[in-house]
């Protein structure tokens, strides 16, 4: 017979969280002596009385929300404060000296880098977030999630990039130094352009937003103009130019899904990708329904689906496990 009972188990029992065997243990212990019964009662009183002590906020939701709006407006408008530098703040001088020193160090390093043969391999990769980066030549790359680019050098004699995953490039035009992206076994060569490249399971999709791009694989090559795309499957030699009919591919660059009269299946395809979701359309009649909705990348998927649903009254959305089914 146990004389001592741990408070932890006692509490668990009173809160209804103890296992059956712990419960029996407590009951035998409790019945064993008056002291035990008293202790049990004490703990129970404390736990039950404390529940009544729960205090409710003295503010109403509406009151609090109104206060919030005032606070938000104030924080939005508040200009940065300007403070005069006090003449006797010595630490500021020290800080200034430190800044100068670091600055000088960085400058000399920078100059050294520029003059030297910079042949360092640079690689930029993303996991859970989209990343925007400026390349050494001033071109801008938007790297989608789980993607990687790498390049060598400072882009002054050549601009060659290796890509895994998906990226959108806004290339700074320089006719003497072509900008080339290698992805899978495909080479995309730009002639001053903005374009999107996506590689998935060794398939490569190139969409041109503006300018001209040359896409080549082995001995084949095509030129893509603005609003044109190719989709090159792994192992296929032929590829044909298609019209790029929507702007959805740019969602991770603009943080917006530009769904303007897009067939439902296409929107769902992009949403599945962006949210890593598994949405299926089981009603064939809805497959090609044109949808026009504004969606921001940071909106929760559940809200997005509600908005889509509101555009098409006959649509039903159900969740089953990990899957979301549109009927």
């Amino acid at each position: 017979m146990k004389q001592h009972m741990s408070e932890d188990i006692l509490i668990k029992y009173i809160l209804g969280e103890a296992s059956d065997s712990e419960g029996r243990e407590v009951e035998t212990w409790r019945a064993a002596s008056n002291t035990n019964a008293k202790k049990f009662e004490d703990v129970k009183i404390i736990l039950e009385t404390s529940k009544r002590l729960a205090q409710a906020s003295p503010l109403s939701e509406t009151e609090a929300w109104d206060k919030f709006k005032v606070k938000r407006a104030a924080s939005g408008r508040e200009p940065g404060q300007i403070r005069s530098i006090n003449a006797n703040t010595n630490w500021l001088r020290i800080a200034a000296a430190a800044v100068l020193l670091v600055g000088a160090g960085w400058l000399s390093y920078y100059l050294y880098q520029r003059s030297g043969m910079s042949s360092q391999l640079v690689s930029i990769n993303t996991t859970n977030t989209v990343r925007v980066d400026t390349l050494p030549d001033g071109s801008v790359v938007h790297l989608n999630k789980n993607s990687e680019i790498s390049y060598v050098g400072n882009f002054r004699s050549q601009r060659v990039i290796k890509l895994k995953g998906e990226a959108f490039f806004e290339v700074k035009h320089n006719q003497y130094v072509p900008f080339t992206v290698h992805v899978n076994d495909v080479t995309v060569r730009d002639i001053g352009t903005a374009f999107n490249i996506k590689s998935k399971q060794q398939n490569t999709e190139v969409i041109v937003e503006s300018g001209v791009v040359q896409v080549s694989k082995n001995n084949n090559s095509v030129r893509l103009n603005a609003s044109e795309m190719v989709n090159i499957k792994h192992g296929e030699q032929q590829f044909k130019v298609e019209k790029s009919t929507d702007m959805l591919y740019g969602y991770y660059r603009d943080n917006v899904f530009k769904a303007d009269n897009v067939p439902l299946w296409r929107l769902i395809e992009v949403l599945n990708e962006a949210y890593n979701a598994n949405i299926k359309i089981e009603n064939n009649a809805l497959h090609n329904t044109p949808v026009t909705v504004p969606i921001r990348l940071q909106d929760p998927l559940i809200n997005v689906l509600q908005v889509i649903k509101s555009t098409t009254p006959e649509m039903h959305i159900e969740q089953s496990g990990q899957d979301i089914i549109i009927k």
């Binding site: 809160l15 004490d42 002590l53 729960a54 409710a56 906020s57 503010l59 939701e61 206060k67 909106d299």
Partner: protein, 186 residues
């Protein structure tokens, strides 16, 4: 189109705010014993959330994210306060305590009053867990998830809280037990 969407966004945020504000306010109060500071902390948390504009991403466990943040912000506040208090007299504080007590006396029974007082003596972490268990009536598992700790830790803290409360209430409990005893008899 964009404007509509922003309005929508605002509406969703407002919903989120209104749904959680009061419970978070009460939680903050449990930790801080000060409605004004608790309000400030919860308001700032929502403002931060709005400004960062990332609240859509925290979709699955927004509630647990909010609770966790109030908990950490409150503890940080207490920590800062403690440092400040070293250099200050505590007059203002103890005065406030007394007035609160006086107002409270009108509404609460003696037992509750003493327990209230005893609760204020719990260490912050204990108090947070006690609040979630007793006031929000969360299961141990839910508390553990919310605060990112193990169930075992929750158990230990509840035990510790009870030990402190029993010690604080020592002179009161026999008396109460007697009343209950008499109540059952009659």
């Amino acid at each position: 189109m964009t404007v509509d969407w922003l309005d929508d966004n605002e509406a969703i945020f407002e919903q989120l705010f209104k749904k959680h504000f009061r419970e978070l306010h009460a939680y903050g109060f449990s930790l801080l014993k000060d409605w004004d500071v608790a309000e400030e902390i919860v308001q700032s948390l929502f403002l931060k959330l709005w400004e960062k504009n990332e609240w859509g991403h925290i979709q699955t466990s927004i509630k647990s994210y909010l609770y966790k943040s109030v908990y950490h912000d409150s503890l940080n506040y207490i920590r800062r306060k403690k440092v400040q208090l070293k250099y200050q007299t505590t007059t203002a504080y103890s005065m406030k305590d007394h007035t609160d007590d006086a107002a409270g006396k009108l509404k609460m029974g003696e037992l509750e009053q003493h327990l209230q007082h005893a609760l204020a003596k719990l260490p912050e972490k204990c108090r947070a867990i006690f609040h979630l268990s007793r006031f929000e009536e969360l299961k141990y598992q839910e508390i553990a998830t919310q605060l990112d700790i193990s169930i075992k830790t929750v158990e230990t803290h509840m035990g510790k809280a009870l030990r402190i409360l029993r010690k604080e209430m020592k002179e009161f409990l026999p008396f109460i037990a007697l009343i209950l005893f008499n109540m059952f008899k009659s």
